[in-house]
Amino acid sequence: MMLPWKMSGQPAGPEHSPYAPVSIHDVTVAYHRKPVLWDVDLDLPEGKLVGVIGPNGAGKSTLIKAILGLVPTASGEVKFYGGTLRKHRALVGYVPQRESVDWDFPVSALDVVAMGLYRRIGWFRRIRRTHYEEATKALARVGMDSLALRQISQLSGGQQQRVFLARALAQDAQIYFMDEPLVGVDAATERVIIALLRELRNAGRTVVVVHHDLQSVAEYFDHVIMLNTRVVAAGPTAEVFTQDNLLKTYGGRLTLLDEAAHAVARTGQR
């Protein structure tokens, strides 16, 4: 499969790495033997805003989780700047789906943002005042510093999402993976988040965003990955975000593959 950015020869990033920030080699993921990601093989470009789109159940979240080692892969491997994730953890930031955590948990917005610093603080060490100051700065960047001490269940959905974004900023990563950061947020929050994503991109960071709203894809993303179990297309938005590819991604023809996947799952059962 010919990928546009594989041919173009990306300029080296801030680390002057000869490798792509993330390269995914033939990754397959199966839940209970049913493949949800099938032989994904692509490189992520450095310093771009990358959208991951596809219908429900296409494996968008799974792709991110597979890259981050959060779900076991049936085959394949993922390299970060040519090395392992274990070696490059400090470079990776993650924003999970908002519903993935318990918002009744007894922590303040500031506590949640400080969690972005835990890796740097290290095992067994305590959170110091300077860490909280840093977390407050991150909250200020999403316009939430006035609500820093509020318990997180007292925040609106959009404010909760901003807290997650602030936590990612505090992580100060080189490559960000964000799972549906724009779902269920108000218009003001969406503007704040998009401005931040662009700021990160302009600072040379790679930002990968699972996205659901096709209307805004062309406006928001430099690159898109169009996913439906298989990677239907991946490349610069202007080139691959076409009617034809949309039909292939969201249209019916790939249901054949889905049926086959179910059949594969059944053969595995005794």
């Binding site: 209970h32 989780k65 981050l68 080692g69 959060l70 274990r86 953890r89 990776v92 930031g93 993650y94 999970p96 993935s100 955590v101 318990d102 948990f105 007894p106 922590v107 303040s108 506590d111 949640v112 969690m115 835990y118 890796r119 603080i121 095992w123 067994f124 305590r126 959170i127 318990q151 936590r167």
Partner: protein, 422 residues
């Protein structure tokens, strides 16, 4: 009441049991796994039985080891079965701990002729007997149970102190924890091992009822009174210690009042903890039943006041009011006390302040009506009814958004309502 040295030792031992359990209970509570404490305290039985069968003695060392292994096994099996069998974690927990408990019973029956197992001792413990079993350390004679319980608390406190943030991130956002290189699954299993260790150490002294009670109740009570984990930990420890003290005092005094003998201290401690929970449930500021009722009452008062103000305003503008719409004398006097209305020559009228308040309410009403009709596609008569309720809960922020959204000049969509000057 007759306080002796025995009471001091009993109480000290009870307090440290309660503290150990309460500390760990917080982390079970925030993971919504409070019942895991119950499960593990049953599931340690086969570990104890196996340790006894293998070593042939009731030494603490092998017993604790067996319990820890059984505790971790419970956690691992619970997660494994939930995953493989696609069942709820609570279901899987139920399957695991009942099975392990049954296996433990079978093992004990197998060894029945060699072990003296007193069911009431397991249930209530034997706190009353603990001061009698002593060991000498460095010239001091200390009850063995006191030593065991303080050591277990020291271990728990040290581990929670060292790994506080690791436990917290593992419980709140395990996926983020994994991407940062922390090990939430190990953290969880360490927690389960500590719960098992604590449960077994405390069983002997205070019994399984108090272990389960102290794992669950102080943390749940503390959560009602605090919204940050460090504060919750501190409060839960205070509540646990408080329950132990009140429980022991209660056990000594309360039954006497009714002419009975002393009752068991550990049972009374669990009752004291439960009582504290109910007090917190009722009196907790903000989230308590009482605070909730007070909020409801003040909201109802405000609605009454605002409706009365609007009625007086409309009458002041020359509108006829039906008798039912006229505020009651009680309500009028309440408005008078707040400086919103005054009576002169038998006629009630709004003061300038009252007029301002009334205009604000009516303004909110009209804004909502327009918004509902123009932007939410609601019929005019329905919009009036909804606005009657919405006008009382309009915050300044909402009013601002409404004013921005609604077309100017703002006119009421229905005939007959009055638009105050703005």
């Amino acid at each position: 009441m007759n306080w002796t040295l025995l009471d001091t030792w009993m109480l000290a031992t009870g307090i440290f049991s309660a503290l150990s359990c309460a500390l760990l209970g917080n982390f079970l509570f925030v993971r919504r796994l409070s019942l895991m404490g119950d499960a593990i305290s049953h599931a340690v039985l086969p570990g104890l039985a196996a340790a006894f069968l293998i070593t042939g003695s009731r030494d603490s060392g092998p017993m604790l080891m067996g319990a820890v292994i059984a505790g971790v096994l419970t956690a691992v099996l619970t997660q494994g079965i939930a995953h493989a069998g696609k069942v709820e974690e609570s279901t899987s927990m139920g399957i695991v701990f009942t099975t392990l408990f049954a296996v433990g019973l079978l093992l004990i029956v197998r060894a029945a002729d060699r072990v003296d197992l007193d069911p009431s001792c397991v249930l209530y413990g034997s706190l009353e007997l603990t001061p009698l079993d002593t060991i000498r350390i460095g010239g001091m004679t200390l009850p063995r149970a006191f030593l065991v319980n303080t050591s277990v608390f020291a271990v728990n406190a040290a581990i929670v102190w060292l790994l506080f943030k690791e436990f917290m991130i593992g419980a709140f956002d395990p996926m983020l924890a994994v991407t940062q290189g922390f090990r939430p699954r190990w953290m969880h299993q360490l927690l389960m091992a500590l719960v098992a260790l604590t449960a077994v150490a405390c069983f002997e002294t205070v019994g399984s009822i108090l272990v389960v009670a102290m794992l669950i109740v102080p943390a749940a009570t503390a959560r009602l009174l605090s919204s940050r984990l460090p504060a919750m930990l501190g409060l839960s420890l205070a509540i646990a210690a408080g329950s132990a003290i009140l429980g022991h005092l209660g056990a000594l005094t309360i039954p006497r009042l009714f002419g009975f003998e002393d009752t068991t201290t550990s049972g009374m401690m669990a009752v004291a903890a439960g009582a504290m929970f109910f007090l917190a449930l009722i009196f907790a500021p903000g989230s308590g039943v009482l605070a909730h009722a007070r909020n409801q009452l003040s909201l109802r008062r405000r609605i009454e006041n605002e409706d009365a103000l609007a009625a007086l305003y409309r009458r002041g503008e020359g509108m006829e009011l039906a008798t039912a719409e006229l505020p009651s004398p009680r309500l009028l006097h309440r408005l008078e006390r707040r400086g919103f209305a005054a009576e002169s020559a038998g006629v009630w009228q709004l003061t300038p302040r009252g007029k301002e308040e009334a205009e604000s309410v009516i303004h909110a009403h009209v804004l909502w009506e327009r918004f509902l009709v123009d932007h939410a596609n609601m019929r005019v008569d329905h919009a009036h009814q909804s606005s009657e309720r919405l006008e009382h809960v309009t915050t300044p922020e909402m009013r601002e958004v409404l004013a921005e959204t609604v077309e100017k000049p703002v006119t009421p969509p229905s005939d007959g309502s009055i638009l105050p000057p703005r």
